[in-house]
Symmetry: D2
Subunit: 337 residues, 4 copies
């Protein structure tokens, strides 16, 4: 046991930030939500008052506050590296939502700052903390399916976000597929050598106007010639579609969708189940708690990051290659590190 | 290989008889449909001509015909023992649809005739030849689930037959549940010591008029204190419902319904599968072929009956006890053999 | 929102009590764990200190404490009614673990005291708060499966508790099946008119020494002639087996076991899934939180009990009838209320 | 009904040929196996005698025989077009195993001969006749899943054939993936515009010696920007792996593997099912019968080919493009027809 709780400041009280705030306050006995920062004063205050926390409109306030041990960065992606660098310089531990940034140079600079400061940085790819994906990883490391030969990842959202959001999202590959690139790397732990990406606008023509796609298929080729196929769509009418299968020399493991209950009906039209969880908040609720628990424990006890910046960087590198492949119509090689 | 095929005469060209005729003609290379008998001349002729067989309106004709090796009795239940006895006296091998009869005394007399004549008698409980039920039996004999402790059988028809049929069917327990009683005995190979049956009219009030029930729950207690629960209904809106589970000291095995295909849809209303096979003709098609193949092989090669009269008698004994239990509201004990 | 939290005193800091304590402290923002009572001083103190609560060895102390709004009774079953009556007299709201008691007369006396005092009493049948069982209930009330005709409930523990516990448990029917009796009543909302129970010792001969059974099959007959079959066992080698199916005039709904993850492996020996959740703590974790949330809300806002004593009494009545049926070998009728 | 049966000559009495012979003789009442041809006299005679058919060592014999209506060509692929052309010239209807040939020029020449002769040509892509794949096709045409956006096909054999066979097989794409290319075309009915193929040797280094791969991932891009991913492997330790999913604007349909029975076991290690059918003979038994039934009916009644040469040609065209893509590492465009 520890003498005291990890005192966390939330920076960015949007949807995902408010979710983390609730988890810190109610689900993590070893952490406490000490402060909330948001450029929007009302948003900061409303969230802070809910949990009896202090509030600010500028993140510098919490970096200067010695009563804060760690920050959780949930602002828009383009501001991440600036805050990471400032927080690292202030000696605060850092939980940062994905992606760190959309530019490798800025990521690399921020990671150098973090290493230099010796603080903890954990990036928010929450799927790695989901019991389903972890079971897949375990099957691989335990040799249950032998040596992986191919991976198939399905990741589809129930419906597209507003065009305004999409326009600043970095595009399908860096906003959405990035989770799948990270998952491929997490599961296989192999350098990714080549990326071939295709995509189309099948759902909403407005997405073509912002030079993005809403449907995509990507092939990753790993150094050991394991091939990963990824299917993405901005719209699955039946809900959040999060599935995966790893096929190996001794067998296969697949992760099915997760349902709100395990009932099955036999009725006139056939066998029926309810839809799977509708979206990420429901599907990954426990994973979001687990990633923050892992962060809290690493911060309180010391020890390596459960999901380091260097680890998370791979997904951005692959995402940028996918974007280039889509635009050129050709496979893109990634240089060995 | 054999020098010649088994020459079979079909007696009774109703629905089940015509199905057997097609199987003998097209699916069993070692058997040939040599003759068809039906009281209805047109029915006999139509079926016979389809397969280039001879036809008669009286079964005695085929019993006297030295070109006939075996008979398949598919007439109404009340005529079975008379034909069995005559066929046995004529030295013909006998395949007889279930049940042999609804009276134990008549069954016992017929079985004595069969034993005396030394002919083969096989009763048509086709489920024993279904790969699913056989897999359950195999799991038990191989010890995969340890010693059986309890069994649950679900057997529901898609919809009730005409009242006229029901009125002469022997009632739910002897017409329908009898398959489940036979299955319990086939799987457990334990004497059944006590029967408690309940039932109700939930589907069609007309069934009450003929003093029958359309919905029933029966509990069988075996000599080793394994308990079997059986759920029957004359009407399952989603199709033929044929499931079973055996729970034992080391695990459980359950048999699910069988579907015409293995597709699964994910659509707006949830996950969907098509209905299972609609009724017994579709569900047990291969089992019906297999039981006749087993009969053909036993007849051509000699050897014990794949499903003897003595074996099939148990289900009638239990069925009569169930009927008595329903009427008295009390459990009924069966005397040890 | 409320001005203040519900201040709860836990009475009985055994396994289930400590689980409730953790939920009150960490999962229920609207409640606070104010005190812990246990006859064993060390148990009371350890639990209380974990959550910064007060502690006592006698329950009277919290009943006299005006800073306590409600009690959660988790002591042995035989002490429930005494504490309920005292708590009601002291004007405290009461959450009580199942069963209220094993004697109908004592239950009825306690319920009269509760009604007279006008306090809230909620009994701890947590399954009613599980999303799976609630989905089944919803299917029934929404008419998705038509009018229920039969119900099948499977409830098996992974392994028997110590004989010492069993000896004072009230026996299989009142300790374990009672959850299933309650579930049948919760789902069907029909008076139960007749009970036929069978049972055997198949797992551990020591259970015979204490005049109990470890394996049982029970049939309940409802006023509307819906039949419920229940299969219980003290030992399922594959983990906690909690399944249920309701068959009705328009279809069927079944609740499958719940698994810690949704992965499926295809390996040399066939398709495999991990075991379902091992026991009730894992299987019903969210249900335990939900029942206390419902209790907290009812206590803070007023309103009827989410699971009243009168409602919970039915299961004891059925349990006693089942015990009598087992001993006599005959069905037992329950008098209309 | 027809006056007479279709008289079929089997050309090539290898494994697949003998399977077709059995189906013609025992499962197709409207066809008769009249002759068997094999260069190996013993193979021809053994197969013919089994079904009381004539036998020859040269196919010309059956082409000159006026008692033959149709031929079923099951010889090695390189001989197909020669026999097709001769059979067409002789006015025989033609069932030909896949692929027609591995050279588009030879295929086109043969198809011209067939058209000129006005005979029926059906190519043996049996999966199109499987009820599972047909159900998927039906879901698409009926709009159950809306407009298809992406397809994922898994096709893996239980173990690689002998190297000698592989060396003359045309390689993974033309021997094995060709079924998947045909399936994509059958389901989507869209021109395939671009092919990107990757592959590796992961199972047996000897396969590298013959310049082939044993593991592959292929992406097809259709004219309407539907993307198809295909995963192939020569070795799935759990048996024949034949799955498919089509995702569309209104939902998804997937085809699962087919199992020899529907039993599920719950045992100490978790939930288990037996392996799926081991290989194509078991998995597609009914599909093989259905394709010959469709051929027989088309030949007897006239009417278009159930699977024409022009239709089957697409898969070879895609296969050749896949091979080129694998060798160049680049996507290959297919010219519009």
């Amino acid at each position: 046991m520890h003498d005291r709780k990890l005192r966390v400041a939330l920076i960015g009280a949007g949807r995902i930030g408010r979710m983390h705030a609730a988890h810190i306050a109610h689900r993590l006995p070893e952490a406490t939500l000490a402060a909330v920062v948001d450029l929007n004063e009302e948003a900061a205050r409303a969230c802070a008052e809910r949990y009896q926390a202090r509030w600010h409109t500028r993140y510098e306030a919490v970096l200067q506050d010695s009563r804060i041990d760690a920050v959780a960065i949930c602002t828009t992606s383009t501001t991440h590296t600036e805050i990471i660098e400032a927080a690292a310089a202030a000696g605060k531990h850092i939980f940062c939502e994905k992606p760190i940034d959309l530019t490798l140079a800025r990521i690399d600079h921020a990671l150098r700052c973090v290493r230099k400061a010796g603080v903890l940085l954990q990036v928010g790819f929450q799927r790695r903390f989901d019991p389903g994906f972890q079971r897949v990883r375990q099957a691989i490391t335990a040799g249950e399916i032998g040596e992986p030969h191919s991976v198939h990842i399905i990741s589809r959202d129930p419906s597209p976000p507003p065009i305004a959001f999409l326009a600043s999202s970095g595009g399908l590959f860096l906003d959405m597929s990035i989770h799948d690139f990270d998952m491929a790397y997490f599961l296989l732990r192999q350098p990714i050598r080549r990326v071939y990406a295709t995509g189309a606008v099948r759902i909403d023509p407005a997405i073509r106007q912002i030079d993005d796609v809403d449907t995509a298929t990507v092939v990753l080729q790993c150094a050991d010639e394991t091939f990963v196929t990824i299917e993405n769509s901005r719209q699955a009418t039946f809900g959040y579609d999060q599935r995966l299968e790893v096929f190996g020399s001794r067998g296969s493991i697949r992760l099915e969708n997760v349902y709100p209950n395990t009932t099955v009906r036999l009725v006139q039209g056939g066998l029926k189940r309810d839809n799977p969880h509708h979206f990420f908040i429901e599907r990954y609720r426990d994973a979001y708690v687990s990633e923050l628990r892992a962060f809290t424990e690493a911060a309180l006890r010391g020890g390596p990051s459960p999901l380091s910046g260097e680890d998370a960087r791979v997904s951005v590198e692959v995402g940028l290659a996918a974007l280039h492949s889509l635009r050129t119509g050709l496979p893109v090689d990634l240089a060995p590190a």
